[in-house]
Structure formats: structure tokens, C-alpha cells
Symmetry: C2
Subunit: 458 residues, 2 copies
């Protein structure tokens, strides 16, 4: 059976490998030139935070070891306040980490692995039409403008947030679609390695400068540098529109990020060269029409604040594979099942990602919020089968569907509220009397349970 | 100044006339052939219910008298139950009515009036591109496929729910967009005139057969016929997908609409010839980019259950004119102002229209709901400056913005709840003691007030 995949990004490349391993004849078509030879960016610049869901999908394809060699584990958030003081917030329990990975390096590696599995990749081919009825894709060579048709058994749109495949599906009746933008945009900045090639800040952390309505983050790269991203409102003051001159930018950084200024020798160049990019959430339905389907950002683009965009796309591949197994590779049934499992989870992570933006930029600097987080971590440690914080569910529990993580964390919030009404717990939850009260209250709580993430887990 | 309008539908044709009256040089471009000479449908078949908002806009252009001659006033909803019993529900107070108008006749009339005002209309021209920066539209002749550019000072997309102008704006960054479909679709059916040319049911009413999850409606035409529309789920049973054979349709109508069957001699032919059409809500933002703007369904397509789609589009024209007056015809400012006034109102009527579907098909057959409606009508009569029901606000109060109608009707609901807690009112609100209690309670309620619908009303 032949599968055509539009888009040789992260999700398309992983899926191509998985399907080739399963015996399908897979061809990929990519609009951009081959980034392994051309000197181009990977499209989006934010470094990726690979976590359990992404790793699990790579593991299924036998690629996890391969990828871990290009990743830097980050065990905590490192918060920078306006005086330059630091405070660590562990992401999970000991040893749990998310991984900083370069989008470009990861994509190149995944493309090469796909080719090793017999997948062919045609570059500089723009998808211009999809005939859903005959499963025919029309591509245009970006150099000559020549158009040609490709007929296959299955067409998969893995072509990102602005998917061409989806835009053709959108023209069919009853295709629900929404794109919404945050008021904030982002701009990439850069912290180079130290003179000795080392890291200028703690290496194994995701650095955050939370400033309520905006924030700066930094993720480590293998060469000792950090990729930084400034998230800031497009309009208003502070806002990108009000940062017009070098003096504006200098003043803004002196005021809000004084400890970063000496680490960014190319700040002005980066600031005025790098584009301001918008933050979009895309939802649509259905993801499948006849033998055409969407996966990854093409089906559900999310904002980057939970570090789950790529992880979710990779998880799509894992679930699709499980659905193929469940249906003995009957694609019409497998695709229906895939959408039934994934659509509620994609909707959930889209909403969680927007909520996490508020948490990252604003709440992490709030003492009440921090105290609550500490109690959550304490509960997680003492009652690991009954209490798992939302961040852990999303990031480290790859068998818990996102929609269930959302449901459980709402129940958690009510539970924490009720526990904080116990006077002893409110005073000091490590005291003997508080522990007694907690143990009693928690004895009535059911152990964590959740619906399956795919048909393989029923 | 030159204005190009894409789409010669109802809103485009009215706006063209208004702008020509104001001294602009206006050209319209329409994808379809001229419906005044060709034998084609007006695109959408549901008859229109013209009410105060639409009439007010026509009045401003001096066209209301013209239109009233092709309208049939409907003073009430005529409910048909499953036994064929009838029950009248007045729409408002004595003399208040909505007006049944044929979409096709209205459109033809408005196009001819626009031409009388010097507007030119080019038919069979498909809009294929818009360059927002240079205010240039590209059209394609549908017969020859030839393309050409039209540069003007202002471009207005009045090209409906599937607007080509909007689809080009959607490609710009930060354009928020959503399209969502109801699970229900609709199909047009037909009741011909009686043998003597008269009406086979009450003429001056909007007939409704509410059946909880679905409904049939009928609006009178000038020739004695009724245009009927069946609103029914696409899937499931009952649903269009389960009505496959003539026997299915016969059984369905015998069971749910027995009184209609003898009035529809062409039921089978109509049912299997007429298309099943979907029901879409479109929201987007911004409506204006540089000198390009959207109006009517192109900016905000709504479902038809409040009978406000065309009324809202005509009101857009009225408000845009007020904004031009306010800004001394400075278009950039006028367009900004127009969107500030209209966007909340368009969002409100979109939501109200979906809510009214539930009311029409389901609640109007519920005794508690009917009792509540009766109390509302009573309050409206006794305290006309303090209590106006939602339907009246939307339909008969053309100076109350839709968003205010929504706000006021929420307050109304709370007020009615609290009045129904008074024992005497609950028992019989016309009793002397109930009236005393009502008068006392209402003495604390402020007279109706609302924000202005346009800058002309501040």
C-alpha cells in the first residue's frame, strides 16, 4: 500500500519511519529545500522540550536512544527575578526531566532515519490541491512551477499549523475550523557560550524570567549556548510595537532583565533582525475525509507553553499505529478510531497550553501559588498513587490522555482546596497533627485511574 | 472616490445604493449570472423574515415603501402539534409583525435600484485574489477564465458566508477565524396555493411544527404558496441520513406532520430533488485591513433561527453610514469605528440565533416555557418602559444593539425568576394581590436603557 505524506517535519518524518517499518511504501513531499544541505532554519525557532510522550513514540520506532544523544536534560525551572535572584522549581520527582532538543537537528536526524527505512523525500514541492474522492494530491515544483498529480492509497497531511492539506479539506461542507491568536507574539534571542565553551548559566534547567504580563525563557544547546525566547504583547506598552529603537530595547532589558544583558552581546542585532512571530491555536474537525487525514500541528496547532506541540504530534503517531493494529490495518476504521481517541486530547492540550502561559509568566512569581505547588509536590510524594500534579500528568505520565490529565487536575484543585481548609494543614502540613489529618482525609480518596490513551490500552 | 463591492447579494446591493447616494462611484462584481434574466435560484432558499432592523436600513436609503409591497406581514407564530391542533403565539404587541419576503425578489429589486443610482454590476466575475496593500482585487470571468485587476479606493467584501474576500484576509497573520456547523441541516419543501389561488393555511403567520429535536416551518408567499423548511439532524434517526426511500419519508411525515401531508402534493419530488444544506456560523476578526473591509454574512454568518441574518447585514450598512458621517467620510477611521460598534453585536446575534433554534423546535411546546412567556408578555404590557422580552428587543427595537438585547434579556430572566418566587404572582399574576406585589417589586426596577447602536446615537 502507498502512503503520501505532505510535510517532512518532525511528525511527518517519524510517522514515515513507523509506516515504512510496518511495510508501507511511503513518499514524503516537502515544500522547503533539504535542510541537511541548504542553510535554512527549521521554520520555527523555539527549542523543543522533549518529554515522556515524545520519547515513548520514538521508543516504539526504536529511535529513542538515537535522539537522547542530542538532548540536554532539564530537571527544573530556574526562575530569575528582577534583582537577578535565582530560585529552582523541580519539574517532578528526582531524576524526572524534560529535554532540550534543537528542532533543526532533530528534524535532520528523523529525515535521515526515514530515508534509511526506504522512505523517499521530495523537496521543494508545494502541495496545491487534494482531491479527497480520488486520494490524489497535486504538487507544484517551487523552482519551475510545474504541477503534477500523485495518487496513493492514503494521503496524510503532516504539514503544520498552516497545513495546505487542511486548507483543501476546509472547502468541504461541514468542516469545522477555528484559528485564534494570542495577543502576545515571540522573538528569538541568543546567549552565546562562554569564552571557554561552557554554559553561562546553569545548564540543566529551563530558565524563566517571569514578569506577569510577559516573560523571557532560555533553553540550553549542546554547544554551550542558550536559545532565548521573549514572549511579549504585540501592542501596548510594554509590547513589541513600543520597542522601536535600540534605546527602547536597552531600557526595557535594563529594567526587566538586568542579569541577561551582559550575557547577550548580540541583543540589538538579534532583536532587530529576528522576526516577531505570532502564536496561533488551530482546532478543526473532522481530521479524516475518505482516505485523507491530518496529523500533528496540521490537525491541532497549539501554543508552545506546555512544551507539548511536538510531543502531542509524536503521540498522534503512536496512537495511529495502535489503531492500525487494532483494526488489522483497515485504514478507514483505523482513521475513525484515531480521531475518536485523539480529538478530545488535542482539544485538552490546546487549552492547557494557553493556561500554562499564564502560569509561567505570572503565577510562578506568586507566593500563594508557590505554596500551593509545594503542597502538591508533598502530596505527590506521600500519596503517589492518589495525587499527581497536572504538570507531571502532562509531562511524565505518557499513558494518561491529555483530556484525563485535565479532568484529574480539576479534581486535584478541589482536593487541595479542601485540604487547605484543615487548620493544621494550613499552618504546617509537615507537623504530626497535620499528617494525621491528611492521612485520614486521603484515605477516602480513590487511587488515580483514567481512560485508555489508545485501543492498545483498553 | 471609487468603491468596489464583491457580491451583489442583498447587503452588497443595499450598500451600493447607499454609497452611490452619498456620492461614491460604486462598482459591484457578482460571481453568479444576473438572476433577473437567468433562471437561477437566489442561492439560499429560506424565505426571509424582514423586521424592524432591516426596514430601518431600507428607510434610510428611501427604499422601505418599495419593499413593503412585496412583503407579507406575519403577526404570530402558528404552532402545529402532532394532532394537527393549532395555537397562536403573537410576536409582539398589537400590530407588530415580521414580514415574509422572497429572497430572490428582494435581491432583484435591490439590484435594479442600485443600477438606477448609477451603480454598475458586472456578473459572472469570480473574486480570486485581494491585495490588501494596494487595494487591488483580481477577478476571473467565469466563462473565459480570463483574469484582470481592479484597483479602487475601497474594497468591500459583501460576498456571503463563504466570502472570497475573507478567505484572502485569512491568509494574513493574526486573522482570527472560526466556522462551526450545527448537527442539523435543512431542506426546502413546498405547499402550493389552493385551487382558487388562496392560501391553504393562515396567511399572516409563521407556521411552526416543533418536534423537540427537529422542526418544520412555513412562510407565506405572495402567490398563495408557502415555502417550507425542514430542519433535521444530518445523522441519526430521525435524521436526513435515515430518510432514504419514499416509504421512509411517507412514514416520517405521517407520524410527525400528518396535517401537512395533504398540503404537499410534490413532497416526494421536492424531498429527493432539493439539496440538504448545512447550517454554519462564521466569526472572524478583524473585519478591516487597510482599505478592505467585510460586511454582512462575509463578516459574520449566522444560523437563520432568529430571522436576523439579512436584518443584521442591513443594520451593518446603517451603522457604517453613521460611522462615515461621524468621521466626515474618513474611511480608515470610519471602518475602525464600524468594527468597534458591530463586532460585539454580530457575536451576540450569532449566539442568540443558535439559542433560538432550541426555543423554536423544543421549548415552544413546553407548558412551563409557555407560561413564562405569558408572564413576560404581561410584564411587557404593564411595564413597557421597564420590561421588554428578548424577542421584542431583537425584532422590534432597532435602536437596541444585539449585544444589549442579550444583556437585558439575561437580566430579564433573573427578574422573572424572582417575580415567580412571589406566591401570589405564581398562583395568578392577574389577581389584585399579585398586581400589588408586582407593582411594588417593579417600582425598584430601573427603566430600560442601553448603549448606542452607532455613533449617531450617543
Amino acid at each position: 500500500m502507498t502512503v503520501s505524506i505532505s510535510g517532512a517535519g518532525l511528525v511527518g518524518s517519524l510517522l514515515a519511519t513507523m509506516l515504512a517499518q510496518r511495510g508501507y511504501s511511503v513518499k514524503m513531499f516537502e515544500r522547503r529545500p533539504d535542510m541537511r544541505s541548504a542553510s535554512i532554519s527549521a521554520g520555527k525557532s523555539i527549542n523543543l522540550a522533549m518529554s515522556n510522550r515524545g520519547l515513548r513514540a520514538l521508543q516504539i520506532a526504536g529511535l529513542d536512544k538515537h535522539i537522547q544523544s542530542i538532548a540536554i536534560p532539564m530537571y527544573c525551572r530556574m526562575m530569575h527575578d528582577e534583582q537577578g535572584n535565582l530560585r529552582e522549581q523541580p519539574y517532578g520527582t528526582a531524576g524526572q526531566a524534560i529535554n532540550s532538543v534543537s528542532r533543526g537537528e532533530l528534524n535532520k536526524t528523523l529525515m535521515s532515519i526515514a530515508e534509511q527505512h526506504g522512505v523517499t523525500i521530495e523537496f521543494e514541492q508545494r502541495c496545491v490541491d487534494i482531491d479527497v474522492n480520488s486520494t490524489t494530491a497535486t504538487f507544484e515544483r517551487t523552482d519551475s512551477g510545474e504541477r503534477y498529480n500523485v495518487k496513493s492509497d492514503i494521503i496524510i497531511g503532516a504539514d503544520g499549523a498552516f497545513s495546505a492539506v487542511r486548507s483543501r479539506m476546509q472547502q468541504h461542507d461541514r468542516f469545522a475550523y477555528s484559528q485564534s491568536y494570542l495577543d502576545h507574539s515571540y522573538k528569538e534571542l541568543h546567549i552565546p557560550p562562554a569564552a571557554d565553551g561552557g554554559f553561562r548559566m546553569a545548564k540543566n534547567a529551563l530558565h524563566i524570567w517571569p514578569r506577569h504580563s510577559f516573560m523571557l525563557i532560555a533553553l540550553p544547546n549542546l554547544d554551550g549556548s542558550f536559545t532565548c525566547t521573549l514572549f511579549l504583547a504585540h501592542k501596548g506598552n510594554p509590547g513589541f510595537e513600543s520597542l522601536k529603537t535600540e534605546a527602547d530595547v536597552q531600557e526595557f532589558f535594563e529594567r526587566y532583565f538586568p542579569d541577561v544583558l551582559p550575557l547577550m552581546p548580540t541583543l540589538m542585532e538579534d532583536f532587530f533582525t529576528n522576526p516577531e512571530s505570532s502564536l496561533v491555536t488551530v482546532k478543526c474537525s473532522p481530521w479524516t475525509m475518505n482516505n485523507v487525514m491530518l496529523i500533528g500541528d496540521a490537525a491541532h496547532a497549539v501554543v508552545p507553553f506546555y512544551g507539548q506541540g511536538m510531543n502531542c504530534g509524536f503521540e498522534d503517531c503512536r496512537v495511529l499505529l495502535d489503531c492500525l493494529t487494532e483494526t488489522h490495518d483497515s485504514w478507514p476504521e483505523a482513521m475513525q478510531l484515531y480521531m475518536q481517541y485523539r480529538k478530545p486530547d488535542a482539544d485538552a492540550i490546546a487549552d492547557l497550553a494557553i493556561e500554562n502561559f499564564v502560569e509561567m509568566r505570572d503565577k510562578v512569581a506568586d507566593v500563594h501559588f508557590l505554596r500551593r505547588k509545594q503542597l502538591e509536590a508533598f502530596l505527590h510524594q506521600r500519596y503517589p498513587d492518589k495525587f499527581v500534579p497536572q504538570y507531571s500528568l502532562v509531562t511524565f505520565h505518557e499513558d494518561v490522555p491529555y483530556s484525563e490529565a485535565q479532568r484529574i487536575s480539576r479534581a486535584n484543585a478541589q482536593l487541595v482546596d479542601s485540604l487547605l481548609e484543615i487548620q493544621e494543614v494550613k499552618m504546617d502540613w509537615t507537623s504530626g497533627r497535620a499528617l494525621q489529618a491528611l492521612d485520614k482525609a486521603m484515605s477516602h480518596v480513590k487511587p488515580l485511574s483514567h481512560s485508555p490513551i489508545s485501543p492498545a490500552h483498553r
